[in-house]
């Protein structure tokens, strides 16, 4: 099973790769077994993906209909929809992306074009990669102490800030990766034409990877759309339609959480429908982002 077994075969100069050689036989069987296991693990992964999707569709489709998008979250015992939660989620996630995109792109430009290998860039890159996987519940705690405890009320903005903190590292990372794909000759050509660096970056390099930057934004969108833990302590929830970002705001993840845990059938149905909606959104965003990314990096 180790390289040692290969050596005797080649050193004697006589081929041992014959079907009746016991060592060879064992190696072949070990290989077959391990490859079968490898296939098995792939199937294992796929089974879970399909199982979860199947659960979502079988339980979520029941409440899927126009009412889901037009009616408000109902009181217990009546039918309704998730319109206010969907709208609230769009507002919070939209604001978060609006905050995170410029910060992420600028920081990404710094890492790839300006700082490159200086120590600020090195540390930032390192920290950014860690924030990429930082526990989101801790981000929620941070924003609670930073904003909610100071302004003394839960608000859509607090939720948006928490989500933005989660989104920024994704945008930074993708922007940097994309900018590094741009061949240096392109930058050199632009500089030779007498352009200052900022024009080179904005008009040439960034422009040539715009699809990639959009990928980053989409991945960030996908990452934060389903985040629940940080919203529990920040934007809370709202039973009604509200567009006031300064007040507690309805949002899909928290509504799903609350409704899934309730004893009322109508609420549980809506929770599954919401879960299906959010998962589909996230998966579609991911697939679009990946397709764009692939086009760019090829």
């Amino acid at each position: 099973m180790s390289a040692l077994e290969i050596v005797p075969g080649s050193s004697t100069g006589k081929s041992l790769a014959t079907p009746d050689n016991p060592i060879y036989k064992r190696r072949v069987w070990v290989n077959r077994f391990n490859m079968l296991m490898s296939l098995g693990t792939m199937a294992f992964g796929m089974v879970f993906l399909l199982w979860i999707l199947f659960t979502l569709f079988s339980k979520g489709l029941a409440a899927f209909g126009p009412a889901l998008f037009t009616q408000m979250t109902p009181p217990p015992g009546s039918d309704g929809g998730l319109a206010n939660a969907i709208f609230g989620s769009l507002m919070i996630v939209g604001s978060a992306i609006f905050i995170a995109t410029p910060i992420g792109i600028m920081a990404g430009i710094y890492l790839a074009e300006v700082g490159r290998d200086n120590w600020v860039a090195k540390i930032t890159r390192f920290i950014n990669d860690i924030l990429l996987s930082a526990p989101s519940i801790v981000i929620g705690l941070f924003v609670y102490t930073l904003i909610v405890a100071n302004v003394k009320h839960y608000s859509g903005w607090a939720g948006a800030v928490a989500l933005a903190i989660i989104a920024v590292p994704v945008v930074v990372r993708t922007t940097e990766t994309m900018l590094l794909l741009v061949p240096n000759s392109m930058r050199e050509a632009a500089v030779a034409l007498g352009a200052p660096q900022w024009r080179v970056v904005l008009m040439v390099t960034l422009k040539s990877v715009q699809g990639g930057v959009v990928t980053g934004v989409l991945l960030a969108l996908a990452r934060i759309s389903g985040e629940t833990a940080p919203l529990l302590f920040t934007s809370l929830n709202n039973q009604f339609w509200s567009s006031d970002m300064n007040a507690p705001m309805a949002n899909l993840p928290v509504v799903i959480f609350q409704f899934a845990m309730s004893p009322y059938e109508e609420w549980q149905r809506l929770a599954w429908a919401g879960a299906l909606l959010i998962t589909l959104t996230v998966l579609v965003l991911n697939i679009i982002a990946r397709t764009l990314f692939r086009q760019k990096s090829q």
Partner: protein
């Protein structure tokens, strides 16, 4: 002469513009650093009460009594580490298998769709895993596999104690299994990516010597990409430590330190999700924020180690080409 002057001033203004541009991008990069410092500072301030009053004893005290205001973080810390360990014990071999499949066995046409499908597992929001775990997986596990495990693995002397208990579907083990499904995509895609960095010439020479696919993977690819593989595992570990919603739904939420994996337990993240909005007593709140700080420092170290391992691989890459 005039022309030369013009171009110098133009060059000067370019230099100034670039300076402004450089500093403004640097400002945003520093924002990222400031965020990190802010998170650590705010958690540190919030946990000051516990840290100054209880000190290091906090981490070896297993009592969590909100009535008497005695708080020790040992149980959630234990649960966090145990669930993450289970996640890795299941997740690493599976991820390894998936990575081998995707790099060595998979027909080229299926490579991309299957690779994307694995990555989509990572995109499913944590709360969905939680609902699925609570309503679908745990009941099924309790009815089918769990009694079998208790009756077979539970009978093994000494280590059998790990698999004893009532088959109710919830507990540390279930949380670990669901976590493993959640970390597989992270570990598997890093492994796949680093396996792909193995120079074809190395693999081809081994194949040329008559090595089987498995032998090539085990004796050539794996040693070559060791650092990256460990980095990927550390990344998965970092994810598993901080996962909240999915764990909260199924772990059973009890402050309990026990080798029995089918018993309810607690993790740091699930304690926070359960109690943070409820805690009104300053000592309770501070103890919870201390847990949050612990979690952050823990995952910071693991993720930093992961980064470091992965960067040594990239560096070698850089030298090679």
């Amino acid at each position: 002469m005039a022309r030369a002057n013009g171009s110098t001033s133009k060059a000067n203004s370019f230099a100034l513009q670039d300076k402004i541009f450089g500093y403004s991008t640097q400002f945003f990069a520093l924002l990222v650093l400031v965020t990190l410092v802010g998170i650590i500072a705010s958690l540190f301030m919030g946990s000051w009460q516990t840290l100054s009053e209880t000190g290091p004893k906090f981490f070896v005290t297993d009592t969590w009594d909100p009535v008497r205001k005695v708080f020790g973080g040992m149980a959630p810390l234990w649960g966090t580490i145990i669930t993450a360990t289970i996640a890795l014990v299941i997740g690493v071999p599976v991820s390894f298998g998936i990575a081998i499949f995707l790099t060595e066995m998979c027909p080229p046409a299926l490579k991309r769709p299957l690779g994307t499908a694995v990555e989509l597992l990572a995109a499913i929001p944590s709360i969905i895993y939680g609902m699925w775990g609570l309503f679908v997986f745990a009941p099924l596990f309790a009815e089918t596999l769990q009694p079998v495990m208790i009756n077979t693995l539970g009978k093994i002397p000494v280590i059998g104690v790990v698999f004893q208990g009532t088959p109710n579907g919830f507990g540390v083990f279930t949380a670990g299994v669901i976590l493993s499904v959640m970390v597989i995509p992270f570990i598997a895609s890093v492994m796949r990516d680093v396996f792909d960095t193995t120079p074809p010439i190395l693999k081809e020479s081994a194949y040329g010597l008559g090595a089987t696919t498995w032998e090539v993977v085990w004796n050539v690819v794996l040693p070559y990409t060791k650092a990256g593989v460990i980095g990927g595992i550390m990344l998965g570990l970092g994810r598993a430590l901080g996962e909240t919603m999915a764990v909260t739904f199924v772990i059973g939420n009890a402050y309990n330190i026990s080798p029995k994996l089918f018993e309810p337990g607690n993790s740091i993240a699930s304690s926070l999700a359960n109690e943070f909005n409820e805690a009104s007593d300053p000592a309770h709140l501070s103890a919870l924020i201390t847990l949050g700080l612990t979690l952050f420092v823990l995952s910071f170290c693991v993720l930093a180690a992961s980064r470091w391992m992965l960067s040594t691989l990239t560096k070698r890459e850089g030298k090679r080409t």
